[in-house]
């Protein structure tokens, strides 16, 4: 009988409570889909993931497609965990996807196979050149809007994930969803969830007219993680998590009796 069980090396997120849920962190090189409704804390989670990496001396990159990088940095500066020096010293590298499209000459309404490959190559080249070990794409939903075929989206995400994993880069793909209930899809195009190594769902639970943010890891290959719903709070020190009360996790529907 083997004396110990093999465990994959982990990318310690450094986010309060998150590594406990993941039983040590995200397995290195994973592509994780962070799917959430608007205002659920996806961008903050993604940015804190990078900041914790930068604090440990890792090179990090953030591709922003939903808002200009200037606006993103202005919003994130309110958090005490964020230090603009990390951007100035090149530990956190923020890229506007629109600017990337311009560099690549991708100014069309929809992308074909060649365009998708050019985009993958550009991202991978940046990761390779800088030696990025933590990457966030915010959001993959916006990034994929120009890819009209489901097959192309699948190829794009699969190839990108595979190449990033080869480079030892742990990636969070942020995905915008309209509902985070049990029956909801955890991706906008229906393909991201199948390709990702991990899925983190973020949303709100309504409790008597108040919205309580939650986070749930529904899938993470390579680790025996918790699948419980956790309440989250976005504090100046970063995201904080605590298990959601069992009698309060489904809102008013769970009351009485």
């Amino acid at each position: 009988m083997p004396s110990s069980v093999y465990q994959r090396d982990r990318c310690i997120t450094g986010i309060h409570g998150m590594d406990e849920i993941l039983r040590g962190g995200i397995p290195y090189g994973s592509t994780v889909l962070a799917a959430g409704t608007c205002g659920s804390g996806k961008t903050t989670l993604g940015m804190e993931f990078l900041v914790r990496g930068a604090l440990a001396g890792e090179a990090c990159a953030h591709f922003t497609a939903t808002e200009p990088s200037v606006k993103l940095l202005e919003n994130i500066r309110q958090y005490a965990f964020f230090d603009m020096n990390m951007v100035d010293t090149g530990l956190i590298n923020v890229f506007d996807v629109d600017v990337l499209y311009s560099w690549l000459g991708l100014d069309k309404a929809s992308f074909d196979l060649d365009d998708v490959h050019a985009l993958i190559k550009a991202i991978v080249d940046i990761v390779n050149t800088i030696g990025v070990t933590r990457l966030v794409i915010d959001s993959v939903t916006t990034l994929c809007y120009k890819i009209k075929s489901e097959q192309l989206i699948r190829d794009f995400l699969f190839t990108l994930g595979k190449k990033l994993a080869t480079l030892g880069c742990t990636t969070i793909l942020i995905s915008e969803i309209t509902s985070a209930t049990e029956n909801a899809h955890w991706s906008s195009f229906g393909v991201e969830e199948a390709i990702a190594d991990g899925i983190i769902v973020m949303g709100d639970v309504e409790r008597m007219g108040h919205l309580l943010r939650f986070l749930q890891v529904v899938k993470m290959r390579g680790t025996a993680h918790s699948r419980a719903k956790h309440a989250i709070e976005l504090t100046p020190l970063g995201v904080m998590l605590t298990p959601m009360l069992k009698w309060g996790s489904a809102g008013e529907a769970n009351w009485g009796g």
């Binding site: 709070e233 998590l241 009698w247």
Partner: protein, 194 residues
């Protein structure tokens, strides 16, 4: 002159940081019991901490302490009442934090943990005022589950938790759970008239 119950200080000297104290008061002596507990914690034991106010707005509590000459400016208050009142969050104190509603139980816990991470004192307490006020908004089973989580969270972190409770007004399920989870009891639920 405001008279403190000195026996509470004596009882407090026997508890450890990972204790959870159920502090029982009556309706009329609630502030006296609160002050008789808070004062020794702050002055004798030089502790800092968080005061969670669900029964009244934090400003009213701070002013009640000030009226008996007690400075609570180094204690952080989490006010669960004032956000529900228009203009209630416009306050002259820097040490008050607001949570939208007493129904946001997990947010209260996380906000407390956040404040404790930023507090400079080494030894800290969390004072919950009160179970009765929380029970107005929260169903018994959920509140019992919450108190279980609350107490264990702070015990594990060696932060003293003090839970104020007026037994006559507490749902039986919550009361029996409090009896079970708390390590110590300071009972001033019966007001003795000399």
């Amino acid at each position: 002159m405001f008279e403190l119950d000195q026996r509470i200080a004596e009882q407090l000297s026997e508890v450890s940081l990972n204790s959870a104290i159920q502090l029982r008061s009556g309706t009329s002596n609630s502030f006296m019991v609160t002050a008789s507990t808070m004062l020794p914690l702050m002055q004798m034991f030089e502790m800092g901490g968080v005061y969670i106010s669900a029964s009244r707005g934090a400003v009213e509590i701070i002013q009640a302490f000030e009226s008996i000459g007690v400075d609570v400016s180094h204690i952080q208050f989490i006010d669960l009442v004032s956000s529900g009142i228009l203009g209630g969050t416009d306050v002259p104190y820097q040490n008050i934090h607001f949570v939208d509603s007493p129904i946001m139980l997990e947010s209260i816990l996380l906000r407390t943990l956040y404040i404790l991470r930023t507090t400079p004192t080494e030894r800290n307490f969390v004072f919950l005022d009160s179970v009765n006020a929380l029970s107005i908004y929260n169903e018994g089973r959920m509140l019992a589950e919450y108190l279980h989580t609350f107490i264990n969270t702070f015990r594990q972190r060696e932060i003293l938790s003090v839970i104020l409770n007026i037994p006559d007004q507490t749902p039986p399920l919550v009361l029996s759970n409090l009896d079970l989870y708390c390590t110590d009891l300071i009972d001033r639920g019966q007001v003795v008239i000399n």
